[in-house]
């Protein structure tokens, strides 16, 4: 079933989409039916600039397993990067 559940998190940075780089200020994260991925449910992330409210986004739809691996990869990358730059 489609849900209205959504997790929002503020962030700072940029994302690159079909129109080039854009400033982003938040990510909308939800686990629901995808638009494109051939899955029944996927972990979806929309990187957006909510303040500008243009509707532009950089989007991913990935399997739950992929998402959990991505979380681990992000944590590992930050840990190693911080150690290297310390």
């Amino acid at each position: 079933m489609c849900t209205y559940i959504i997790e929002k998190t503020e962030l700072s940075g940029s994302a690159k989409g079909p129109n080039g780089w854009m400033t982003i200020d938040s990510a909308n994260v939800y686990f629901d039916h995808p638009f494109h991925a051939p899955l029944d449910h996927s972990l979806n992330i929309d990187f957006v600039n909510a303040r500008e409210g243009t509707g532009d986004r950089v989007a991913v739809e990935i399997s739950k397993e992929s998402a959990l691996k991505l979380v681990d990869a992000i944590m590992a990358a930050i840990k190693q990067g911080e150690a290297a730059h310390a």
Binding site: M1, C2, K8, H33, F35, H36, D40, A50, G55, R57
Partner: protein
């Protein structure tokens, strides 16, 4: 009717809630008709390839179909971006959805090929929307609910955009109801389907529910793992038969 029926498809404008100019995918069988018609309501991810395909399937079987984009007011270059914007804002309100359905209904009844009888059909969250619309638009002639979840909700789930428990509209539905469900679905699960059926039965409504073993949620969707060939073929036959029985 020719064995291979032709059809005309186009994106049309219709007047939605508050007179807003909306867009909809429209498919009608080739010929003067008159044909019955149906409004199709997409699921939460929006106005996608599959809802167009479903609209064409109805047209191929002699039923004019219109699938409005529920998110046409949202910014974004593409329907999927509009869907993402809508979700971030908490989705469309039930009032706005009903207004858009009234607009789509008026569009259909104004077409010279339409016989004036119009059904409504929704998938997933669109099934819930169809249930609400059927209760609030008395002139609809038939409703098909395909695995619509959250038709019965707790009071704590009500929100300003969704302020009424959909099942409370059951008493106002005066057209025949077809329900298509998978027994492995989690929302609606078989118990929820049973509860909805109990209410319809108690109210003396005209309904037929079909529950499929070996099928879960969204089992008509041929591009997704939940697709179930035999159940989907039988389910579509039920849909065509139901619409022709009540709308011809």
């Amino acid at each position: 009717m020719a064995f291979y029926r032709g059809m005309i498809t186009e994106v049309v404008e219709f007047k939605g809630h508050n007179g807003d100019k909306g867009e909809a995918y429209y498919a009608r069988p080739q010929g003067d008709g008159p044909f019955p018609a149906a409004i199709l309501i997409h699921h939460m991810p929006g106005w996608d390839d599959w809802i167009m395909e479903a609209t064409r399937k109805l047209a191929h079987h002699g039923i004019i179909g219109i699938a409005p984009n529920l998110y046409f007011r949202e910014p974004g270059k593409n329907p999927d971006d509009q869907a993402a914007t809508s979700r971030a804002a908490g989705g469309v309100s039930d009032d706005q959805m009903v207004g858009d359905m009234e607009g789509a209904l008026a569009f259909l009844r104004a077409q010279k090929q339409c016989n004036g009888k119009v059904g409504i059909m929704g998938f997933c969250s669109g099934g819930r929307h169809a249930f609400i619309a059927a209760g609030r638009i008395p002139s609809l002639n038939a409703i098909v609910d395909c695995w619509g979840g959250s038709v019965i909700v707790d009071a704590k789930e009500l929100t300003p955009k969704r302020p009424v428990n959909p099942i409370d509209y059951a008493k106002d539905i005066n057209c025949p109801i077809l329900g298509i469900f998978g027994n492995d679905d989690k929302n609606p699960d078989p118990e929820q389907v049973n509860k909805t059926e109990e209410v319809l039965k108690k109210l003396g409504k005209s309904y037929e529910f079909h529950r499929y073993d070996g099928a879960g949620h969204g089992f008509f969707a041929s591009e997704r793992p939940n697709y179930r060939l035999e159940q989907a073929i039988d389910g579509w036959k039920k849909v065509y038969g139901f619409f022709h029985k009540h709308l011809d």
